[in-house]
Symmetry: C2
Subunit: 299 residues, 2 copies
DNA sequence: GTTCTTCATATAGTTTTTCTATATCGTCGT
DNA sequence: ACGACGATATAGAAAAACTATATGAAGAAC
């Protein structure tokens, strides 16, 4: 691209526009400057190119024979750039990029997105499923939903709901569970990567994780849930993970008690950038969905 | 193209180069500025776009997901511009555009151009055949060859040869012409648009145009010559027009006397622009060809 | 033919942008 | 821990671009 170093880009743009529009006045209008400025740009660009691109007629600028070839190519190039800018800025306005953990995305968010889409057809949602904590100031992500203690620097945090844990299992298995101590007699499926402990839920009943039987172990909470659904054991679940499975009866919660895991769901946005409409709309919708979920779960 | 008004072009170029090269240092090298300048350009462009194009990693700049789409388009656009500039300046270096009168072009210049081409294969010649006087500063014409008194403002003029007139006709007709007065007894073909008068040639012999017979008239000197070749009459010709026809024996000059028409051939170039190599090469060749023609004609 | 309008351009001064140079901070590899 | 590399902030300097005005040239209108 070294050829471009010899000619100033604004000059090329002036050439292109003047070739298309024919007079300095119209060119100046399109570029948003005075005609004199355009004249200077064109003259300078012609000098840098070492070629005369326009003949000056009493009615404006007429491309020379060899100038026409240049102008055609310049037009093609600038059209491409224009389209690039249009798409890029149009996209940032209309596309909401959300960073969420894969499990939350697949088990809770994605199944509900269709409703958001219906509510705001002009906003395109792009889900960036990853476990890394992202900085909305240093990526193209508009907002994140993360589980944790809320101890993240340099971002704006908004508490959504406390994570509460409770056992779930297939309905057949639930028949064996009259009281918490019965958990010792059924298989347990575990998420090997989870930082949640059964003690969180057992302690209030005076029980401990050591009494539980061994069982299958998975590297992902979603896989655990699938195992629980097929009756392979009881899992320690939480609201957003289990809600849809509970609602459709694939699993049941044999005990009503839910206990705080110590973590919470937070909405993460930029601490510095002003908030566009698409973000506030999503926040509103998200809170309403959470409230609706919680309400149904509490019944 | 109004989208381009919202983003400064140098910023887009910085984005494109950084996306391709990965670090500020390399980008700065390509653009010929300091890394700090590039950093500012990129940040500014991102703000104008309202989008984050790069994630800053410890190893440089990595395009975001949505940034990649933009960068791909920007690259395409700038490649096009780069090619445009390359071709335009390459062309001006390698293409010599010459403005000449159609008659001179067809009867003298074009038949000799093959030799110039052989001498300088790297220089492409483009002939712009027109009768209008061209200003090399206001068109893409590099040089002109014009007949006149040399009284043209704002251009550099270089005398090539005096225009000298003399009668030519088909060999059969020449048998009837022993002395100038015999011209009264043969048909005369005239160029209706010419500003040359038979008196120019007749006066020195004490003769006058009134004694000449009427004959066919044409709107173009080349057509007159064709008529003379086919024996339709005698025409008042000049060196560059008749040379090739004389050399091949299609016409003859029944009298050796040649008289100055008062006009001359001039090489016209820009008075202000510095002269590129292609022009000086053409001048050298042109003078040599003229000398060779004159020498053969004098024999 | 004269006047008017429509163009482009020259010039000078101002405003704006861009650039450099330096310092700082973060991350990685040794 | 230390050095290397990379991005950014900042302030001052340099360069570029812009405005406003005047000028000249060429058609168009009366």
């Amino acid at each position: 691209m070294k050829n471009l170093n010899r000619v100033h880009l604004n000059g090329l743009r002036a050439l292109e526009a003047a070739g298309r529009l024919g007079t300095l006045q119209r060119t100046a209008d399109e570029l948003g400057v005075s005609p004199g400025a355009v004249s200077q740009q064109i003259i300078k660009a012609e000098r840098q190119l070492g070629a005369t691109i326009f003949e000056r007629t009493p009615r404006g600028l007429a491309p020379t024979r060899s100038g026409s070839a240049l102008l055609a190519r310049l037009s093609a190039g600038f059209r491409e750039l224009d389209k690039a800018v249009e798409l890029a800025s149009g996209q940032t306005e209309a596309t909401l990029t959300i960073s969420v953990a894969p499990v939350f995305a697949s088990k809770w968010l994605v199944p509900r997105l269709a409703r958001f889409r219906k509510l705001h057809p002009d906003i395109r949602v792009r889900i960036d499923a990853s476990t890394e904590l992202i900085d909305p100031d240093r990526s193209d992500v508009d907002l994140g939903i993360r589980v944790g203690t809320g101890n993240w620097p340099r971002v704006k945090k908004e508490f959504l709901l406390p994570q509460e844990v409770f056992p779930v299992c297939a309905p057949e298995l639930a028949l064996l569970l009259k009281e918490p101590a019965d958990l010792a007699n059924v298989p347990i499926v575990r998420d090997a990567n989870s930082n949640l402990s059964w003690d969180l839920w057992l302690k209030p009943f005076g029980l401990s994780e050591t009494m539980l039987a061994a069982g299958d172990s998975f590297t992902d909470a979603a896989l655990c849930l699938d195992a629980a659904i097929t009756g392979q054991g009881v899992m320690l679940a939480w609201q957003t993970l289990a809600f849809d499975a509970l609602a459709s009866g694939l699993v049941v919660a044999p005990f009503r008690e839910r206990f705080h895991s110590g973590f919470g769901y937070f909405l993460i946005t930029s601490a510095t950038q002003s908030e566009p409409r698409k973000i506030s709309k999503f926040r509103d919708w998200l809170k309403a969905e959470i409230a609706a979920s919680e309400e149904r779960l509490a019944r």
